[in-house]
Symmetry: C2
Subunit: 109 residues, 2 copies
Amino acid sequence: MIPHTQILPALITAAPAPGSFVELLGFIAAFCTTVAFVPQLIRVIRLRSARDISLPTFLLFSVGVFLWLLYGIRIGSKPVMASNAATLLLSVSILVLKLRYEALNEVKS
Amino acid sequence: MIPHTQILPALITAAPAPGSFVELLGFIAAFCTTVAFVPQLIRVIRLRSARDISLPTFLLFSVGVFLWLLYGIRIGSKPVMASNAATLLLSVSILVLKLRYEALNEVKS
């Protein structure tokens, strides 16, 4: 029998050593991909428009980030939980504003 | 001396067991957060506009995904490498189109 791992390679093969360069890399990466959505949220609020923003993108992205949050809970990693909880909050906020402005623009036209 | 891990909790505390439910959860999460950017790229191409899309968001997001890619290389995880390489390609494409349409609209006005 072919071991399962040969078909589906492990997502995280090894946990980086605490305090290592690799761990720091992960922290900076998580910080960037989380904080990145702050200017998008500000832009949508400021423009009062989210026309160019894709609804399926933010729907699927929110579902994915929610699953990453569950993943973080299951592996017991606080940074994975925290960064995904923050990203989810930002992503859902953008999604809600997209739906609101879409509805408002439909009433207008 | 306070151990480093007490100040900065480990990013990935434990690698999920190959073939486990947690690993599958990670795969589905990675699939969602990667594929999510396909409809956004299609929308920008179709509308020929990315006005509502935030430039700092896609800049910072691309940097973050690039760092996740390096993280994947360093921990030797093919799924982390593959999903972040795909996300980076999509993110940079959206970024390039944003800059192009911005420049085109400036010429027009």
